[in-house]
Chain length 206, copies 4
DNA sequence: CATGAATGAGCCTTCATTCAT
DNA sequence: AATGAATGAAGGCTCATTCAT
């Protein structure tokens, strides 16, 4: 028992250091040797817990994503209305990235472009998050909140694309200073673009 | 003169090969040795023309971007109306990327995440393109086509972010099959999100 | 007692697996970890029973050799005539190797070239086998079966060398298909080379 | 030109060191780094000339073997009689090994047991040497020097096996002190084993 | 100009072995 | 007695880059 906890603590220690290194320096510039020194765990031990350097990289965001989406799911059950759901999702995405820039960096700058990761189990967790967006959009269409001629894939791509762009810009250049401040104007614009117009509503009513 | 032309031809030969290699294999997986062999120009000569491997990478999209934005600028002078301008810009971005996936790959998957590039001269060309979007948006606001309360930076980020996301998805997974087919629904949604509503117009009139 | 037996069983289990691994993959390619997994005994336990990886290797053939030479000794006491004894020895060597290629491989391809083994206790057993050959040759000389001018060391070297070469070829390339089929032509040639000729016999008689 | 010579000199320098290291320490214990330091050529340069550590190993005896067999071929054309030819072959084999123990060690203790080598081009040279033995034996049979019922493969195996055993013993234990001293008794015994007996000759005559 | 040739500098990964429990 | 866990130590190999010719 105590043993299990100790090992988990060591793994966590490695993951914590790895997150910082990968996040700050990227994959190539990060060395296992560096992570080992920093986390005061031998290189060989790192390979006890993680199969390869890339395996370690993949392990960093998986846990985070897993926890995040559980949280999201919980929140979303409490929220009524597709617009509110999208607002919440966007808020969670932006705030999570803002709070955890290294993890954001790993996801946005490294893993998003790694084909192996896109086919890995770790990516499944992330796909769940995307699905929540789809579901919120579809819910909004069904409820008449959103126009019924919008393209769900495209709409999701706009939301995700914008979030990614904002986060990436923020990571790369440091501006704008706060990501979460963008939630409201962002969601307003998006909603304006997809919401059912009064005219349309009138049409439906008639 | 003949000499100058010969050298230019050799440079072009290198850039052509480099574009293919970087685009298909990424930065790390591409070797100078590989480019040298493929382009039948010695490694040492590549270093005559390009300072470093990264310098070569930076040189690939510069020329392309330069030509692209000249073309865009020319087109935009002929187009009236901010909406039409945005439509045109989005069309040119998506179609250019679709026609030239290796160049797209270099920009979207490699350079976008390279701080050194973002401060390099090559990035200036790209910034010009972004500025055109800003100008179109601002023009639309001034002309009353777009709402006057929209955030230009955010709106541009939505446009760019969506384009980047679509292109990146297309590069990484092969879907959607056609990028240019998305131009119309994309611009429709965006315009719907930012255009001045009748109600707003009425408000303004009153 | 039961405990002792259990330990012996575990040792045997390890040795059995080790024989297969060393025989099939060689020394370097065999890992203690592999043997541990296969024999379902922990690596640490293997080190309880065997000092080092090399110690384990040395232990594999010792038991086999020990049993073999007891068998040979028993057989030889029943056989009359040096030629018959040599025939029997060669037959036992070839057939033993053929029946147990992994053990053959360990001896022929690994241990024969290991200076440490040649000075180890395990090698003593093998030397006993060689001594039997010497004794048979000497017996043949004394009895007048073999020429009295032959070099015992050289003759034994021929016998051993040929056996080793045949076994090694068989291990490395798979031909000839059967080793024991070679016993008769082999012994015939050897005997022809060392047996006392009629002329010599006549000389001795005169 | 001068360049070519310089490179050849460097290659030779590497091969010379490699021969000593591999011969004295074996394959595993030899490191490229060690060879590099000793031969005062960078590790990277060694990899310029030789693809891998194993490739370097294979290159060591190839050149030697090639020269050796040219020499043998030349000698054999001058020699009349199968017995004399075998004597010459055995002498050359034993003396060459004795003169060049490191090369002998590489061939006898390392490469003979390396399946990759046995299928490599380097091994072809060695096979040529074996074929010379076969030819001498066959010549002897046709000429009536040797019995016509002997097995060529087996006879060659005896010759090679004995040589290998003697050389290996010499390498491993230092005995016998001189290999070439064994040529005469060795060939005498072998010849006695395979030569046509007077009786046989008489039989043939009758 | 053009390049053949040389190398410095690293880094991931593997395993035999040890030791506390 | 048995082992899970931890690691020290090492080594092959790759490339971007330089420089003499």
């Amino acid at each position: 028992m105590a043993n299990f906890k100790k090992i988990e603590a060591r793994k966590t220690q490695i993951l914590k250091t790895a997150e910082r290194f990968f996040g700050e320096k990227g994959f190539q510039e990060t060395t296992i040797s560096g992570i080992a020194k920093e986390s005061k765990i031998s290189e060989a031990s790192i390979y006890e817990y993680f199969s390869t350097k890339e395996g370690l990289l993949f392990s960093v965001p998986t846990k985070n994503a897993s926890e995040l989406f559980k949280l999201m799911q919980f929140h979303l059950t409490l929220i009524r209305g597709a617009e509110n759901k999208l607002r919440s999702i966007i808020y969670i995405f932006l705030s999570t990235n803002e709070e955890n820039p290294n993890n954001a960096s790993i996801l946005m700058l490294i893993l998003k472009h790694n084909k192996k990761f896109l086919n890995s189990e770790g990516h499944l967790e992330i796909k769940k998050g995307l699905k929540m967006i789809d579901e919120a959009i579809e819910e909004g269409i069904l409820a008449g909140e959103f126009r019924n001629d919008i393209n769900v894939y495209l709409t999701r791509s706009m939301i995700i694309g914008t979030i990614e762009h904002l986060v990436t810009s923020w990571l790369m250049t440091g501006r704008p200073e706060s990501l979460v401040d963008l939630v409201d104007p962002l969601i307003d614009t998006i909603i304006a673009g997809i919401q059912a117009t009064k005219k349309q509503i009138t049409d439906m009513e008639s």
